[in-house]
């Protein structure tokens, strides 16, 4: 009797990723520790300069997602926190935002010392990379469209080794350098 009830219960509980697939027209991909970084094109410096972070990241890496280039939290505390702790940064560090390549380039240039650290600022203008990570949120009210949550992914051998995603999308807590760079 108990086994029957358990089997019935399990049938009603579907993994989140299956539910998501039934709502999307194209297969979606929910990133988890152990998963490979999606091989999706982003841009660096100009729209014509395309790359895939999955191909560029060597050895130990870090991908930092921000909701918006030039917004106060992203510019004032989140990224500067990583620059302050530059001695602890892994070999490959990418900052990604759903902004165009020109805006990302200008933003990188406006952050003191960003260039010296070797952190690469890449643009995900259509949100496809961020969507493949399933880390978009509805930013229409402030930004006019979907944006990336604030997050940090530690990467090893092309796979996610640790994930830090802000539960409220935009706060600077779990994804702050002090919390991420202790590993």
């Amino acid at each position: 009797m108990q086994a029957f009830r358990l089997a019935n219960f399990l049938r009603t509980v579907r993994p989140a990723s299956t539910l998501r697939r039934s709502f999307h027209s194209s297969p979606s991909f929910f990133i988890n520790v152990g998963d490979a970084i999606p091989d999706v094109e982003v841009q660096e410096g100009s729209p014509g300069n395309k790359l895939s972070i999955a191909n560029e990241i060597k050895g130990k890496g870090l991908i930092i997602g921000v909701p918006a280039a030039f917004s106060p939290a992203c510019s004032g505390s989140h990224i500067p926190g990583y620059i302050k702790h530059k001695s602890k940064l892994p070999q490959s560090v990418f900052v990604v935002s759903v902004n165009d390549a020109f805006v990302m380039k200008a933003w990188a240039e406006s952050i003191p010392e960003a260039k010296e650290t070797g952190i690469r600022f890449v643009a995900d203008p259509s949100g496809k990379f961020t969507e493949a990570l399933d880390l978009l949120f509805d930013g229409r009210a402030i930004f006019g469209g979907p944006r990336g949550k604030r997050y940090a992914l530690l990467v090893e051998d092309g796979k996610v080794s640790k994930m830090f995603v802000e539960p409220d999308n935009t706060g600077v807590k779990v994804s702050a350098a002090e919390n991420v760079l202790v590993f």
Binding site: P47, A68, A69, F70, S71, P72, V98, N99, D100, F102, V103, K105, A106, W107, S110, A123, P125, S126, G127, R140, A141, I142, F143, G144, G145
Partner: protein, 165 residues
């Protein structure tokens, strides 16, 4: 339908903002204004287009222009940062340029209402504004200038608009 001479300039919708993402913009409808559309803050042609308005600012005011509105389909944080960058690069130190406004048409609603949006998905990630300049007097459009191609800088440059006033 693209906006035409003789038509009323549509009012600013709530999604068209100035200074803060939740501060709805409004156009001066009792006087002469210039409304300028740009495809993208920080894109190379736009970063020479807008300086032409900064350099010609006083001349435009002397010809009776009361307000100049620069509009891009960008969020307000980007528009503000770009405004500060351009003003510090191109105007004399301490100049306030109070009548030069940078508006964020974050979801392209306003430029679509003018019939002047285009699909820039491949390059910039979504709909953007064509490059245009409108001269509007007491809320009625008097002159419509639109570049044939978004990167072009011809009829929409400030000195061209100034000549026509």
């Amino acid at each position: 339908m693209t906006i035409k001479v003789g038509e009323q300039l549509p009012p600013a919708p709530p999604s068209l903002t100035e200074e803060k993402p939740d501060a709805q913009a409004s156009f001066n409808t009792s006087g002469k204004i210039v409304v300028v559309g740009v495809p993208g803050a920080y894109t190379p042609p736009c970063s020479s287009h807008v300086p032409s308005y900064i350099k010609t600012y006083l001349d435009l005011l002397n010809k009776g222009v009361q307000d100049i509105y620069i509009i891009g389909v960008n969020d307000q944080f980007v528009m503000n940062a770009w405004r500060n960058h351009l003003i510090s690069e191109h105007s004399t130190a301490g100049a306030e340029l109070k009548q030069l406004h940078f508006l964020a048409d974050r979801n392209a609603e306003f430029v679509k209402s003018l019939g002047l949006a285009f699909d820039a998905s491949g390059l910039l990630g979504g709909y953007r504004s064509q490059r245009f300049a409108l001269v509007v007097e007491n809320g009625i459009v008097k002159d419509v200038r639109v570049e044939d191609e978004p990167p072009n800088l011809t009829v929409t440059l400030a000195d061209q608009v100034l000549k026509s006033l």
